[in-house]
Amino acid sequence: MSKYVKIVEQAPLLSNAQKFVKFWNRALKGELFVGLWLVFKEFYKGQIHTVQYPQEKMPLSPRYRAVHELKRLLESGNERCIGCGLCEKICVANCIRMETGYGEDKRKKVFEYSINFGRCIYCGLCAEVCPELAIVHGKRYENASEQRASFALKEDMLTPIDRVLSGQEFEFLGIGSVSVDADRRIKATPLKYLEDSAEANENKETAMESSKEIKQKEEVHA
């Protein structure tokens, strides 16, 4: 017959005398007053943490993921999107839809671009996969509106052209862009490390050999 092992032991049964002592300790230690004093200190210090939301807003992280933006090139104001369709493919919620074709100048153009924000889970994959930093996550999180479509169309998300031309638009640093310290964190390929270590070994061996030669010469001289 299998034997059950209790992992959690039951609290030891107290005798009446022990119970009485426990009761009086509780009654006389003044734990009730400790609680009162604790909350009174908070009352006295007055450290209010309330953010009065419509008037005050919390600062957002630069990599916050809210409603998307379609970016333009800073100098020319042309759309960055090249219509590759990667974002449409990678979208896990299947909420991106784009129509592409060739424009009059025989270059690929994006005619329609829409995101169903009722389905979007704001995972950021589209911004990460975009090779041109064309679709990024902006910081507009107050997306309540009367119409469901108010944010979802291309003209809603695209940066206005006059804003770019007047020089108010800067390089985007949020989600989708390369991180600020990307250059510093860049690493050589694995083979490069092998080559480096091989070179280092060779140098060591030559150094060892030359020291041996010197020793031999010294011995000869001696």
Partner: protein
């Protein structure tokens, strides 16, 4: 005739002032509780949110008066009135201020100095629990029914303590009239009954908190367990009347405690009596909110255990000791 007119005016003033004060106390409670919990409380309506109660009042008055389909309509509608009415009836034998003179008349700010004053206050206060009880039973909702059952539990628990704890100070004073009790403590702070009867003071506070279902004993409408207890099905002004009643009884209980134990409206050094009692009442109301911020709710069985196993024997012991001291030549 003069007496009749005077009493009517007093009644009108008491009802008007205390229903307004009850509303204002909800604002004060929200604000103070917010500061205890590192929040701001109401800030939008009026300066520092003072007019929030006005906005709430408009909302409560214009809300639809919903009676659940299976409810006993008559009792369901009467129940909030019982709570609100008893809260104000209990104020009848309470002397709020010392006598003062106005346009040559000597005015006693008490509606009626009946000789069983404190007994009347306790009785009417306990009858006020018929409001939650009937409202909970008649609402045809499981949560309300549980709330009503807890009302009965609470009534049976605190009632024995509140009566017995007051017995000892009353034995010292020898009168049930609140004015007599107040005058007994007239010779300065050392005569306050809280110093000769500290145990009775604590016990009566416990019982009072249970009677008004304030937080440590807030079983009737324990939000985390039974939605809103007896008030679950109430909406609009009927719900509001429960709370005007609760806050009005809070104020009247604070008056009673400061009259019986804290020296009442006797002048306090250079502070005149009228100001002194207002200070005491303000402190007691602050204590209500302080306790609400500090303590968690307790379970019904814990309340019953506390009242019957601990407070009840302590109250009996207090009565016994006070009786021995009285017979031994104190009074």
């Amino acid at each position: 005739m003069n007496y009749l007119i005077e009493t009517l005016i007093k009644i009108l003033l008491v009802v008007l002032i205390f229903s307004a004060l009850a509303g204002f106390t909800t604002y004060v409670e929200r604000k103070i509780l917010a500061f205890f919990q590192r929040r701001l409380g109401p800030t939008i309506v009026g300066p520092f949110g003072v007019l929030q109660i006005l906005a709430d009042g408009i909302k409560l008055f214009t809300k639809e008066d919903i009676v659940p389909s299976g409810a006993n309509r008559l009792i369901f509608r009467i129940a909030p009135t019982i709570t609100a009415a008893t809260a104000f009836i209990a104020m009848a034998p309470i002397p709020f201020f010392p006598e003062f003179e106005l346009f040559g008349y000597i005015i006693t700010p008490i509606i009626s100095d009946i000789n069983v004053g404190i007994l009347f206050v306790l009785g009417v206060g306990a009858a006020g629990l018929y409001g939650p009880l009937l409202g909970g039973i008649s609402a045809n909702s499981k949560w309300s029914l549980l709330g009503a059952a807890r009302t009965a539990v609470q009534l049976l628990s605190f009632e024995v303590v509140s009566g017995l704890s007051l017995l000892a100070p009353l034995m010292l004073v020898g009168s049930l009239s609140l004015i007599d009790i107040n005058n007994y403590q007239g010779d300065g702070i050392t005569n306050w009954l809280v110093f000769s009867q500290p145990l009775a003071f604590v016990l009566f506070l416990f019982a009072g908190y249970a009677e008004l279902n304030r937080t440590p004993f807030d079983l009737l409408e324990h939000e985390a367990e039974i939605v809103s207890g007896y008030a679950t099905e109430y909406a609009g002004m009927r719900w509001g009347m429960f709370f005007i009643g609760e806050y009005a009884s809070m104020i009247s209980l604070s008056f009673v405690v400061s009259l019986i134990f804290l020296g009442g409206f006797n002048p306090l050094g250079f502070v005149p009596g009228g100001i002194a009692i207002i200070l005491k009442v303000s402190f007691l109301i602050f204590l209500f909110m302080w306790a609400r911020a500090a303590y968690p709710h307790i379970r019904p069985d814990q309340l019953m255990g506390l009242c019957w196993k601990i407070l009840f024997p302590l109250a009996l012991l207090n009565v016994l000791i006070t009786g021995i001291v009285c017979l031994g030549g104190g009074n």
